[in-house]
Symmetry: D2
Subunit: 354 residues, 4 copies
Amino acid sequence: MSGNAFGSIFRVTTWGESHGPAVGAVIDGCPAGLALSEKDVQRELDRRRTGQSKVSTARKEKDRAVILSGVFKGKTTGVPISILVENQDVDSSAYEKIKDLFRPGHADFTYHAKYGFRDYRGGGRSSGRETVGRVAAGAVAKKLLALHGMEVFGYSIQIHDVRMEKFDRREIERNDVRCPDKRAAKLMAQRIMEFKAKGDSVGGVIEIRATGVPAGLGEPVFDKLDADLAKAIMGLGSVKGVEIGAGFGAAGMLGSENNDPFISSGGVPALESNNSGGILGGISTGAEIVIRAAVKPTPSISLAQRTVDVQGREREIRVGGRHDPCICPRIIPVAESMAAITIADHFLRHRAGR
Amino acid sequence: MSGNAFGSIFRVTTWGESHGPAVGAVIDGCPAGLALSEKDVQRELDRRRTGQSKVSTARKEKDRAVILSGVFKGKTTGVPISILVENQDVDSSAYEKIKDLFRPGHADFTYHAKYGFRDYRGGGRSSGRETVGRVAAGAVAKKLLALHGMEVFGYSIQIHDVRMEKFDRREIERNDVRCPDKRAAKLMAQRIMEFKAKGDSVGGVIEIRATGVPAGLGEPVFDKLDADLAKAIMGLGSVKGVEIGAGFGAAGMLGSENNDPFISSGGVPALESNNSGGILGGISTGAEIVIRAAVKPTPSISLAQRTVDVQGREREIRVGGRHDPCICPRIIPVAESMAAITIADHFLRHRAGR
Amino acid sequence: MSGNAFGSIFRVTTWGESHGPAVGAVIDGCPAGLALSEKDVQRELDRRRTGQSKVSTARKEKDRAVILSGVFKGKTTGVPISILVENQDVDSSAYEKIKDLFRPGHADFTYHAKYGFRDYRGGGRSSGRETVGRVAAGAVAKKLLALHGMEVFGYSIQIHDVRMEKFDRREIERNDVRCPDKRAAKLMAQRIMEFKAKGDSVGGVIEIRATGVPAGLGEPVFDKLDADLAKAIMGLGSVKGVEIGAGFGAAGMLGSENNDPFISSGGVPALESNNSGGILGGISTGAEIVIRAAVKPTPSISLAQRTVDVQGREREIRVGGRHDPCICPRIIPVAESMAAITIADHFLRHRAGR
Amino acid sequence: MSGNAFGSIFRVTTWGESHGPAVGAVIDGCPAGLALSEKDVQRELDRRRTGQSKVSTARKEKDRAVILSGVFKGKTTGVPISILVENQDVDSSAYEKIKDLFRPGHADFTYHAKYGFRDYRGGGRSSGRETVGRVAAGAVAKKLLALHGMEVFGYSIQIHDVRMEKFDRREIERNDVRCPDKRAAKLMAQRIMEFKAKGDSVGGVIEIRATGVPAGLGEPVFDKLDADLAKAIMGLGSVKGVEIGAGFGAAGMLGSENNDPFISSGGVPALESNNSGGILGGISTGAEIVIRAAVKPTPSISLAQRTVDVQGREREIRVGGRHDPCICPRIIPVAESMAAITIADHFLRHRAGR
């Protein structure tokens, strides 16, 4: 009801604020008997962590994952898995100065409108720091999916005006922008540094793929698999658009072009093309699931911006602190996590109905 | 859990299949004391109805709404509102012939993969006919929103390659494609008829706007207002993409361009521009909410298509029956309904937390 | 959220008021492929129906069940099952006279306090008539349970001061009070008629048993099987107490008396006694589940009672209309239904977690 | 779905096992602006703590509450409140010896049947230790209720064969068994020590009261206030029965005796008696809410008991470790917490529907 939990069977609740003592997640509904260790979680947290490259913020998050419950002798027991990550290197001083100003593009004003009272330090609950809990839960979801032959991964396909031109999966984790095209990656990083130098920021487009997903996942009508994936991904702070398969491109296509013909793949129905992005009528087809998300430029910029304060007076603001000039590289593990959680949940929901 | 209900407080459950005796909706959580009559529901059903123009299917749905509970002396009583619409003019003969074939672009294959056993007549539960229940519920949501000064409306902005160029709201309901640009509307209708004549179909883009929405609606983290709207709209059978405000356009913008400056509007914070589409950090800003959706071309086309049958043998299919050559005009009241239900739910959720 | 739905996977929503056009239920989450017909539902509705004996109300409810969705060729398809029962023989005249008075023991006052505005005819939504939907849904749950070797049945063990002394299951449906003890049944019926003649009413205790329930159903901590059964049964309008196994009797026992020893039943763990009533730690043991419920005397009595009106003035009331002088016999199929729905839901929940 | 969360708006998730590193709770949906400190939580935890008297276990739990999120400058911010309590003085050695045996009256067997794999140390998740999280959450609920003039408190009314005879509220927290009758309290403590000396244990009955609850709380049909209270209380490990108001006593009453007459209390409707226990038709009447629960004798006894092991072989067991010989005194703060959480949730639900 209050929006801090996600999923029906595989259900994740996150808690914690940017500048509080810790952030964390409780994962309920994970089946018993899954091999799980803190290392599994740490690996994903490390991918999300800041301070990894020159294109991300200087805030150093060590982000040590501690599993407090739900695992016994290296395996899940079927009860809630509680994971905690302490907040370290917290510096709230920059926020004290602007605590009465609404940062443009941020949730300061809307949280103020909603709650009246808010933790203004680093955005509090609205901070990207909250996604630590999502990534921890996503690590558990990924383990569950892997056990059943599924995998989720993501990458940048566009940063500002630079687009990916070729796809080499091995390249993704080798460069700072997580782009599968080595040459484009270099240009993308350049573009980020160029605008960062001007005190500005850039946006981009990321793509998430899920492989090995069996046909039949997704619930009809409202909880379609694509509907829940759209919610999962649009629920990331800087995402302004989500598309599946051909997406907005389908708007300009004819039915005869857009329909994916069914073919027989050794007697088993398969799809010749994948405009549907792995989902038809809200249910997985067995083909690869393909999702794209539009990521807005980081709202925190050091250029002067016009705003108002809590008394409604017009003011000027320059957002200091330490921020990523482009959110794409670090949002990828988060988006993967949300996709993995969504698919894991539908996998269990599907089994429940059999 | 099974995906046939939507919303947390204002909660809608729909039921019914295309060729069964009836379809309907149960609306739970509507506050007591709201003026509501069958006419309110009928008006919206009539907007969704087929047989209204040459660009829609010839299936004639009279769609008479009957309110079976929850209203007493013209007002809601706070208990569930049950609305039923009988299915008339049902002709299943066309489906008997293709009951063992999977129609490309349809949910036949995925429902088969999910349930093993399915009502193949007219797509059964996966049929657009199910949206009658959504529109009935949407009519109730719209009444609730109107009482609090909110309104939701939608229109086509693109059909195939034709784009809207100017906006005249009065024009929307005057033409067959629900486009606010009279001249573009004529071209859009032409394009539809042109491809219909070839046995093909076209897609498009629709836009939904919500006015009068107060600042503060939406729940942080997972149930952001934009996340729930994305789910609501992506959950419509032929939608393949959803964007809010600048949407995918934000990917190419700079932070300094995309951030909406706050200004003082008579001492009250307001936004000078609306790239955020009325939502920041998942919570409404008080500005107009702007959503766009990519609608794929109707999958049912009379051109020959390659497919397989339930035994996995390759076959050819021509989909007969009566279908809209473009889904945009008729999906608009459905998308409006889903947006209205989502906003009504968040309006009540917000009040619950105060 | 509004309390008109029950269950997590096997989820039942009921709708309808006593004197509206119809009542009904939507059953979501029933697996595909279950054989189901209107006869299955009718059989249970007939057991709940009034006018069957001299100990029940004279209101004649024909209660014809119509299945509107979810069943195709005699089998469930996995989508929502909508069942409707028209209200007939509705006579609201008696209620017009007392519409401004709060009937003692009824929900008139509390609904007024909650909603401000209420359908006063026959208690509206708070009427026992609402349980038609529960029994219809219970019939579906019973079919699902039967398929997996489970059965739920109930009977009266006490009416006013008369207690059952022996148990003969075949006797239950042969007498007007559904008591498995022929001799006690006769005395119970006498006691009911005796107080009915005085314009008064009596209470009693019913027992519900579930056989064939496998070990392992129930979720730890909050959604224990006994917790959900307690909610299911306490949620019936006239139930004031629920106990499992030894129940309140356990309060006076020693640990050494109350603990059920485990024995080996052909190498399989079994319980020698059943003080735990088939549930330990909230999870089924494999033994018979035994629930008892205290049923208060019918609040509608024709004796003069003191009350107040909506203006808060003290008044006298005599409740006319047609009422059961004892609720026990007719609440049994309703309580069975709620138990069956609860167990069916936990059966599916358990499978979902494997 | 997995049963580790409770409530609709005021929603509590608990996590943690008896012998893991910590236990805790996440409280979601608490309104912003409520004054809350660790002291508020500590006070309630101290009431639940062991080692306080000779009638409770020797396990010493320091139980230091730490609030990790949701509170800023001494007030709640409307986001999740995460509370953690470390497990100290953990000694698993006694459990290693009996890890293959099913303790009679415990959840060992049913957890084994459900999950296959379980944390056998101290009962793991099924341990009473889990209720630390409930009490922490209950402390928050109590603060919210207090702000709106409501209070929840509880006491023992029966231990084994000794019953309370008079009521003096000040006495409750002064004696080891939390009985409001000083003389009975002494006898109750004697009875506990007497059977403890024999290696046995005793049961009892507790009563929980809620004062100041306004009329109108509770949702019709399934989520009646009494239904949710029954679930809340029956969901405590050793509770085998729950009753409201006259409870099982109502079974033997006449309608004319059991109905509570309405009277005018200064023009406002009030109830002359309280057989309904503060709830009519599932909705609060404004009168005091009265709940009683049957508490079974502690299943852990040092007397020899017959049982089986995981291989199904018959064995003898003596349960060592440190256990309360009677659960009543320490279950009271837990039952109060569950009642407080339930009422807080319905208070917010009621407001949401206005």
